[in-house]
């Protein structure tokens, strides 16, 4: 079989970082090739090189056994390489046909007008050929995420792509949609297309790919055939050692309710309802987990709890007081620590050094900002203590945050928030994009705090993380709690179904008592809702 894509010794350097180090990759025509690796292994960088978004520092890109140099995605598309990004690049109010043909519309009247009929016909013909089920006249905003993804694939095919790169295509899909996607990939390869798909999920690589290449720390650590390997082997390749997938979690000794959320309704930035009537309690000494596919209202729920977003309805109590209208600063002062989902937007000021970042959130505290004057020596000592305790590298309080790797940035944030001596820790995706060593470290610290009687709300889209760490687990789907379960009594498959919005057992009496513990609060706020 012929090689469709050959990357030969690709090295990509950024200031201070080697994202790809002498990576070789050969992809056979008509196969699905999984590019497997942890977040931060350099998968996306490598594919951005292939797609012409980055110019490699050294190395050659061969498409159809011809050396190519792509200055832009346009060159890559011309050579038959298409990429479907994690975040879709679709125009929501436009129809499927318009989106697919955008920029390459068939013309009529000597190029003066778009030939809509021909465009529609081309789209129908294309989706029939690959067995895609999309309505060419539907508006993109009205179709499901899975369908939007198929539109993206059609867009690339319409532009003549022979090689399709899919960046984490399953991240936004429900398990059922994932199955459909894999069906689509099979159909595409059957017709001679070549697929490269980026993933950090072992199971998906095994399930969908013919060949798997594992990247670790920017290096190719092995290319294997999917049917000649095991999950354990792949896991070892990914992390470089055997992984302990089980977290040792002693039984919880729960205390009083620390935070209580009742009947909270939150709208997102566009005014669309993101969280719809969610209630739960977090007690001292327990980890309450929230599991769900990204974008089901977790971010808005967390922002409402931490004071970054005002809920439309409902009540939030913290340490027995109503804090629904308290500002973010008041909540910090009351003892709420928050590891934000987006560390580079919110968690750290990228241009500040670590000393300045150690102050973030404490600038008005008695300890570091008495009488409005900042105590820089104390702040610096605090930064050094965090760096030391949480093994932040480089160990330099003057280092600009931006120069740190993602894992070290995260460790610094985690350290800063844990050292606030909090009553409640809201940890939103605390290990996203963090290397394995740091993940274990952060998990251990979280459980330590739990042992000390701190209440912890853990939001994560990593199933094994929420399942392994939580004492109780709420599953969120389209802004509602589908169920609150005991993670130790629930299988991954059951959780998967719940995350897809399917309730297996409607008469689970245990759930309703758990989820709406504060019945009176519900009755009080219930009238507000329309």
């Amino acid at each position: 079989m012929a090689t469709a894509v050959h990357l030969d010794g690709i090295t990509k350097r950024f200031p201070g970082v080697v994202a790809n180090d002498d990576v070789d990759l050969a992809v056979e025509r008509g196969t699905v090739h999984a590019l497997l690796g942890e977040n931060g292994a350099g998968k996306t960088t490598l594919m951005n090189v292939l797609y012409g978004l980055y110019e490699p520092t050294s190395g050659r890109v061969l498409v159809d056994e011809e050396v190519r140099s792509f200055d832009s995605p346009r060159d890559a598309i011309d050579a038959g390489v298409g990429m479907i990004h994690q975040h879709f690049m679709l125009v929501d109010p436009m129809t499927v046909t318009e989106n697919i043909t955008l920029g390459n519309e068939p013309r009529k009247w000597g190029g003066l007008a778009v030939d809509r009929a021909a465009a529609r016909e081309a789209v129908v013909e294309l989706s029939d050929r690959y067995g895609f089920d999309v309505d060419p006249d539907a508006r993109v905003e009205d179709i499901s995420v899975g369908e939007q993804q198929r539109v993206e694939i059609l867009k690339a095919l319409y532009r003549g792509a022979d090689v399709l790169i899919l960046d984490e295509p399953t991240a936004v899909l429900t398990p059922q949609e994932v199955e459909e996607l894999f069906g689509v990939l099979e159909e595409l390869t059957a017709q001679g297309k070549t697929i490269i798909f980026i993933t950090h999920k072992l199971g998906e690589a095994m399930r969908a790919a013919d060949d798997i290449t594992v990247l670790r720390d920017g290096r190719n650590v092995g290319s294997v055939k999917a049917d000649e390997t095991t999950r354990e082997d792949l896991a070892e390749l990914m992390v470089g050692r055997e992984v302990l997938l089980d977290v040792d979690r002693p039984p919880a000794e729960t205390g009083d309710v620390v935070a209580s959320v009742s009947n909270v309704v939150v709208d997102d930035d566009r005014g669309v309802r993101a969280v719809d009537d969610v209630s739960f309690d977090v007690r001292a000494g327990e980890v309450f987990g929230i599991a769900g596919v990204d974008g089901n209202g977790q971010s808005e729920l967390v922002e409402a709890l931490t004071g970054l977003r005002r809920p439309q309805h409902g009540r939030i109590e913290f340490l027995g007081d109503d804090v629904t209208t308290d500002s973010r600063r008041q909540r910090i002062e009351e003892g709420m620590a928050y590891i934000p989902e987006d560390r580079q937007e919110r968690g750290l000021v990228m241009d500040f050094d670590l000393t300045e970042n150690a102050l973030l959130g404490s600038q008005h505290s008695k300890e570091f900002g008495p009488n409005g004057r900042i105590d820089w020596p104390a702040t610096r000592a605090h930064a050094e203590a965090i760096i030391d305790e949480y093994d932040v590298r480089p160990p330099d309080a003057d280092a600009i945050s931006e120069s740190l790797s993602g894992g070290n940035q995260q460790k610094f944030i985690v350290g800063r928030e844990f050292e606030r001596d909090p009553e409640l820790v809201v940890a939103s995706h605390p290990t996203r994009g963090v290397d394995v060593g740091s993940i274990e470290f952060i998990h251990e610290r979280l459980l330590e705090l739990r042992q000390q009687g701190v209440a912890i709300l853990l939001v994560s889209s990593k199933l094994e993380e929420v399942q392994g760490l939580s004492d109780r687990l709420g599953v969120i789907y389209e802004g509602e709690f589908i169920d609150v379960v005991d993670p130790d009594e629930t299988t991954e498959e059951e959780l998967g179904l719940l995350m897809a919005g399917e309730h297996p057992d409607e008469d689970d009496a245990d759930v309703s008592t758990d989820a709406t513990e504060s019945g009176s609060a519900e009755a009080a706020t219930g009238g507000d809702r329309t």
Binding site: T45, R331, D351, F352, Q363
Partner: protein
């Protein structure tokens, strides 16, 4: 390596330049701008007709304008000829310091807003409002106290009134931005026109000096103006005012770097989401920064009335707009504002000296001034651009991962860079 990559590399290196390197770059830029300016003067001189004995001769060719004389007048002239004996503090040097003083306040006003991420183009308007308020309030106060006591009371009082009214005028775009999401660039520009219009109306009506043909207030009595210390009074300069300016520089530096409010302002300026996360009340910070920025502009107005003019008159010079240039030149750093204001002051005052001493047309002197500012500001501009580019570059990596390069390697490269620029 493509051209784009090479440009990116240069920008990245510029973004990483140390403080010493930046001073070296600025100095080199200044010298380069003089060199280019000299060529322009020669070319312009070659294209003008003059008698042979008026011309200067370089390389055996006659030129009508002498670049050495022009730059000598522009710089040394502005300093009151310190090298040629007979230097008096009450000469051109006073003019330079006078301009510098006003530019310090205007520059600080713009710089503070910039640090909060707000582009305050309204310093001019805030200055005009502060100036009229000061004039009216001090005229009223002058009826109550006089003599030395009058000076001691009225000068601080006038500054306070200027600050309050400038501050209130700055609070308007602040409130509009914070609570009505109105773009401050638009509102401050419009408020500049309103300030000019309303003060013209007032000063040609209720506050008009009946004895004067011009649209101005009654002149302030001598004791209600800045006292002249050491420098004599011929050039309307007061060392006291400059002292206030230096105090303002130190104060603003302390405010930004050592107070919680300053931390809030700086964080809001570079990363509003992180500021919000840390508990900063964004609308309040916007209003507070623009109020303070307006207050500094208002003080510039108070100085203009109490030190230079001795009255309020329509047609206030555009110190507020010069303040934008000063602030950008200074990288929005309060300490840098002092130096940038001095350079700007020298250029402003030197321009008049050049016009007295040579036949060079004022337009050409304007071009020379522009060249100097452009050359000195450009590296700083490209540094900011470079920062933005390398920011997005490395941020993509950070989400995307990769592994840090050995520290020794990167330290080695930066050391090499330092060596190159030293040579």
């Amino acid at each position: 390596m493509s051209v784009g990559d090479r440009a990116r590399d240069v920008l990245a290196r510029l973004a990483d330049a140390s403080a010493t390197e930046r001073i070296l770059i600025s100095t080199a830029a200044l010298l380069l701008s003089i060199l280019v300016g000299a060529v322009l003067v020669l070319v312009a001189g070659r294209m003008t007709a003059c008698t042979p004995n008026e011309a200067v001769y370089y390389f055996g060719t006659g030129f009508c304008y002498d670049p050495i004389l022009v730059f000598d007048r522009l710089f040394l002239g502005a300093l009151g000829d310190p090298l040629s004996g007979g230097w008096s503090p009450d000469g051109q040097f006073s003019v330079t310091l006078r301009e510098t003083t006003l530019l310090i306040f205007a520059g600080l006003s713009v710089a503070l807003a910039f640090r909060a991420g707000i582009f305050n183009i309204g310093t001019q308007g805030q200055m005009v409002v502060g100036a009229l308020a000061t004039a009216v309030a001090v005229l009223w106060g002058a009826t109550l106290v006089s003599g030395v006591l009058g000076t001691v009371v009225l000068v601080p009082f006038g500054i306070l009134v200027g600050a309050v009214f400038g501050g209130l005028y700055g609070a308007i775009p602040g409130l509009l931005k914070a609570y009505a999401d109105a773009n401050e660039v638009i509102t401050t520009i419009m408020l500049n026109f309103i300030a000019t219009g309303v003060t013209l109306y007032l000063v040609s009506g209720v506050f008009k000096d009946p004895e004067s043909a011009a649209n101005q207030t009654v002149p302030l009595p001598e004791y209600a103006q800045f006292p002249t210390v050491l420098f004599g009074g011929r050039q309307d300069f007061s060392l006291v005012a400059l002292f206030f300016g230096l105090l303002a520089i130190a104060g603003l530096y302390y405010l930004l770097e050592h107070t919680a409010f300053g931390y809030d302002v700086r964080t809001s300026g570079i990363q509003p989401e992180a500021a919000e996360y840390s508990g900063v009340d964004a609308p309040r910070t916007v209003v507070a920064s623009l109020t303070l920025s307006g207050a500094l502009g208002g003080v510039a107005g108070a100085m203009y009335v109490m030190m230079i003019l001795g009255t309020f008159q329509t047609g206030v010079p555009s110190y507020g707009f010069d303040g934008i240039t000063v602030s950008i030149l200074a990288g929005n750093n309060p300490l840098g504002v002092g130096i940038a204001a001095l350079l700007f002051g020298v250029l402003k005052s030197g321009t008049t000296v050049v016009q007295f001493a040579t036949d060079v047309p004022p337009q050409l002197v304007g071009v020379l001034r522009g060249l100097i500012i452009l050359f000195v500001a450009m590296p700083e501009f490209f540094r900011l651009v470079g920062k933005r580019i390398t920011d997005t570059g490395s941020r993509a990596v950070a989400t995307d991962g990769g592994r840090p390069e050995p520290a020794a390697g990167s330290a080695g490269t930066s050391g090499d860079d330092g060596g190159e620029s030293d040579e």
